[in-house]
């Protein structure tokens, strides 16, 4: 019973946090651009509106991929500690989270693939390449964490940090932490790594064919995605949180940092992005892994 309540609590709160952050992102960007911006409740209004509109579907996989994708995101949230609450701990840890995080983009990719829209396929192709770009560093960063803490469980990593302090300021991990900061915008898909959507260029890429409830689902998935990206960083490098409130404050803090980057940067081309990701962050992550490997052996 407690487990069911925890699952509901974490998934609904994650969704609300994600939607709130989407609203906040538009507001902050607008203010940095000297505009007024939409109200904070705009994403919520949009979701309700889209969900009541009829939509165009291109086939069974077009529907199923979307559901599959959102399911993947919700399930990842259940494996991430939310300030002391982690509904599904103890089933594989960080490696399982890494794999579950695949489901969401894969679902969107399959769904968008069936729409037979060239823009959608270009967007998916960019997403795949970008993911390959940042995973190179992300995998090394996660491995240095797992090697340093000698566990694959994210709950253990958070608990150790609550006692010993943030990973970001632990000496052997600081290089990996820097690399993580550099790839965070790519993981979250914000500028300068926004080429997947690129509204002015490939008409929102994978999103091109989505309308009505598909767009509502896609936005919900995006909200979860923002939460997952930030939550992983906060849990792994900023010590998680001993309670939910503290955790959310850290989440907001991390979000604001990347929001400022998002507001002022232009967009990379895909090959520039991959070249960047495979150069400095990968180098830092590699050095970080060597440092951890040497100091722990």
């Amino acid at each position: 019973m407690v487990l069911v309540l925890q699952i509901l609590f974490v998934s609904i709160l994650a969704c609300l946090v994600g939607l709130f952050l989407i609203g906040l992102s538009r507001k902050v960007t607008a203010r940095i651009h000297w505009r007024y911006g939409p109200p904070l409740s705009q994403p919520f209004i949009d979701i309700v509106k889209w969900f009541s509109q009829t939509a165009v579907s291109h086939g069974k996989l077009f529907d199923a991929g979307m559901i599959f994708s959102l399911t993947g995101s919700v399930v990842v949230v259940l494996f991430l500690p939310f300030g002391g609450i982690c509904p599904l701990s103890g089933s594989g840890g960080l490696l399982v989270i890494l794999y579950l995080m695949l489901i969401a983009p894969l679902g969107i990719a399959l769904s968008a693939g069936e729409s037979a829209n060239p823009h959608a396929s270009i967007g998916v192709s960019r997403k795949m390449q970008l993911a390959f770009g940042y995973e190179l560093s992300l995998l090394m960063i996660l491995l240095s964490l797992m090697t340093y803490y000698r566990t694959v469980s994210i709950v253990d990593i958070v608990e150790t940090q609550i006692q010993a302090g943030w990973s970001l300021v632990q000496l052997p991990l600081v290089v990996s932490g820097l690399a993580y900061l550099l790839i965070m915008p790519a993981i979250m898909g914000i500028r300068p790594f926004e080429m997947i959507q690129a509204p002015q260029e490939i008409s929102s890429g994978p999103m091109a064919e989505y309308g009505g409830k598909f767009l509502a689902f896609a936005t919900l998935q995006h909200a979860f995605n923002i939460y997952i990206g930030l939550s992983l960083f906060v849990n792994l490098f900023m010590g998680g949180g001993s309670n939910a409130g503290y955790f959310l404050i850290k989440l907001l803090l991390a979000f604001m940092v990347f929001q400022v980057v998002h507001a002022v940067w232009p967009r990379f081309r895909i090959e520039q992005a991959v070249r960047y990701l495979w150069r400095w962050p990968a180098l830092l992550a590699f050095i970080g892994l060597i440092i951890v490997w040497v100091t722990t052996s």
Partner: protein
């Protein structure tokens, strides 16, 4: 059931199938399936048994021994099941091509000689079955003629080199220990020196590594897999190359004990580290090369090379968790890779031999079952949770991480992320995107192809949710090797330092999916739109004019192409060129004209006489 009878039925059945084909085609098709069903049933009935039987003692005074143990059982069963599926699949596939009797005969011969290899208890029978397998494989690879002959030649040349290395190893073992029976060798190798063991290991690694397609011994595999008939590609990729894996496990865990293997040689330079390094390279380079492929079967072939790297990593690491991971990955790979080759084969069958990814598209509308099978196969290949590849890869990563080998773990994980790229390419280019007009009348795959595909898809899913089933058998075989087995239950592994429970993951994913599906249905009904009826930002793409999935990962591939040359293949090509040139040179001397030879003899005598006259040597 007795092992001798089993083998006799196998080979008798193969021959009978060939002869029956001369009388009735339908009877032959049914008999081939019946023989394989019998094989599957017979092997299943041997579950959990460990026994040895001496078959024959007279041959050169060597005993020929057959033996069954849990580790051989899981290999034999996988071979029989994959073989059965492939033979059912080939019913219609091969009817189009002709020379059907020969195909069935060779197919059954390959399958049963593989079972013979895993059931043999001494090196002599191992070698005999090994050669039978190699030669019948050669005939099947070259079945399509044309380019296939060159692919077959490449295979057989490498295979013979491997067999020779194995022969030298066998002879050396015989002179050292005086026996060829595995148990006897294992007993007398205890006192052997570390250097000798490494020498033996390297000889056998050449043989097994060629079959298992470890980099740099992999070059035969991509052409062979893509040129062979698809049902045979399924067998080739699913189980045949894993005979090398079997050999590795047998040698490292069965004959040389694993404790000895792990401590062999110098701390840095030893056979284990060499094998781990080669395993890592085998994962990395072929994964990148697969990204470049536009031929569906070639892409899958390179992927097979890469997946073999995971298995080698698991086996060579030498902990009981890594062995479980490696063996489980062999089992899983056999299921999903043969499934994928069948999917590509079904598409090839219906489109009259099109394998080029850039000229297909949108087939999901015409071949929905094949698409679902392909999707499940690809998910297994990536290791998406709920499919079988997930658990085996998790075991390998986990053991590498907790035993402090983060760099190997990194290569293994990165390989998986590359796998996602080429897997999506495969699925997208064949089944998604625009359906070209020429395929508008395409039919779905025939039932005889759907049945094996559906069956294999189900196994991929079932063993993904219940990994305890195969892990239980693997635990039995680890007990047989004298290792401490993993703590498992039906849903996964329950070791102390991190456990994996598919129960939680499966429940969360399935329930979550159902809830969201219901929620999705609550919204207003969708209207269906045609594939050309989509948003194009004012610049619509004319139908059938462009193929927009060509060069799908172009920016990425353009970046990595300069660093990615198949050094191994270039090396062998240069070697082959060198040998050919040398041969040409020699042919100038050996002209085949008796007059020339007479001239050589006279010249030779003249030189001898000259030497004798001048220096008075004799």
């Amino acid at each position: 059931m007795k092992l001798e009878i089993l083998l006799a039925v196998f080979f008798g059945g193969s021959l009978l199938t060939y002869l029956l084909g001369k009388i009735s085609k339908r009877a032959r098709d049914i008999l081939a399936v019946l023989v394989l069903l019998f094989a599957t049933a017979g092997i299943t009935s041997l579950y959990g048994k460990s026994s040895t039987a001496t078959l024959y003692t007279g041959f050169l005074d060597f005993p020929m021994v057959l033996s069954i143990h849990p580790f051989a059982w899981i290999f034999a069963l996988t071979i029989a099941v994959v073989g059965l599926c492939a033979v059912i699949f080939s019913w219609l596939y091969i009817r189009k091509k002709g020379r059907t009797d020969f195909f069935y005969f060779m197919m059954l011969l390959v399958i049963f000689s593989m079972i013979g290899i895993v059931l043999s208890g001494d090196f002599l029978s191992f070698y005999i079955f090994w050669e039978m397998m190699s030669w019948s494989t050669f005939l099947l690879i070259s079945y399509n003629r044309g380019k296939a002959i060159a692919a077959g030649m490449k295979y057989i040349v490498m295979s013979v080199a491997g067999s020779l290395a194995m022969l030298v190893g066998m002879i050396s073992l015989y002179t050292q220990t005086g026996t060829l029976v595995f148990e006897g060798i294992s007993g007398s190798l205890n006192s052997a020196s570390s250097g000798y063991l490494q020498f033996i290991l390297i000889l056998f690694f050449v043989a097994f590594g060629i079959k298992n397609a470890i980099w740099p011994l992999h070059v035969w595999l991509p052409p062979a897999h893509s040129e062979a008939p698809s049902p045979f590609s399924a067998v080739l990729s699913g189980v045949l190359i894993k005979i090398g894996t079997f050999g590795f496990i047998l040698l490292i865990y069965g004959i040389i004990q694993v404790q000895v293997f792990v401590n062999l040689g110098h701390a840095l330079f030893n056979v284990r580290n060499l094998l781990l390094l080669l395993g890592a390279v085998t994962i990395l380079i072929p994964t990148f090369i697969a990204l470049f492929q536009d031929d569906a079967k070639r892409l899958l072939a390179w992927s097979t090379v890469a997946q073999a790297g995971y298995i080698i990593l698991g086996i060579a690491y030498g902990t009981s968790e890594s062995l479980s991971g490696g063996t489980l990955h062999f089992f899983n790979h056999a299921l999903f890779k043969s499934l994928l080759f069948m999917v590509v084969g079904a598409v090839e069958f219906r489109t009259n031999g099109v394998r080029d990814l850039n000229s297909l598209g949108g087939l999901i509308k015409k071949m929905p079952v094949t698409f679902v099978a392909g999707l499940i196969g690809v998910c297994g290949l990536i290791g998406v949770p709920l499919t079988n590849g997930f658990v085996s890869k998790w075991l390998i990563y986990h053991t590498l991480i907790v035993n402090h080998s983060p760099f190997l773990a990194f290569v293994a994980l990165l390989g998986t992320w590359g796998t996602i790229l080429y897997s999506y390419k495969l699925i997208h280019h064949i089944f998604l995107g625009q359906l070209p007009r020429k395929y508008e009348k395409l039919q779905a795959a025939p039932v005889s192809m759907k049945v094996p595909m559906i069956f294999l898809s189900l196994t991929v899913f079932v063993f993904g949710v219940l990994p305890g089933l195969p892990l239980h058998v693997i635990n039995l075989s680890e007990l047989g090797f004298g290792m401490e087995p993993l703590a498992i239950n039906m849903w996964g592994v329950v070791t102390g330092s991190g456990s994996i429970q598919m129960l939680n993951i499966a429940t969360a994913l399935i329930l979550g999916g159902i809830v969201l599906w219901l929620f999705f249905r609550m919204g207003p009904k969708n209207t269906r739109a045609d594939q050309m009826d989509n948003y194009a930002a004012g610049a619509p793409v004319p139908a059938d004019r462009y193929q927009y999935s060509v060069k799908f990962y172009d920016p990425l591939t353009r970046m990595i192409a300069p660093y990615l040359k198949d050094i191994a293949d270039n090396f062998y090509s240069a070697l082959a060129r060198g040998i050919r040139n040398a041969g040409n040179g020699i042919r100038r001397i050996y002209t085949g004209d008796v007059g020339n030879y007479a001239l050589y003899i006279i010249l030779f005598l003249a030189i001898l006489i000259f030497i004798q006259l001048y220096w008075k040597v004799w």
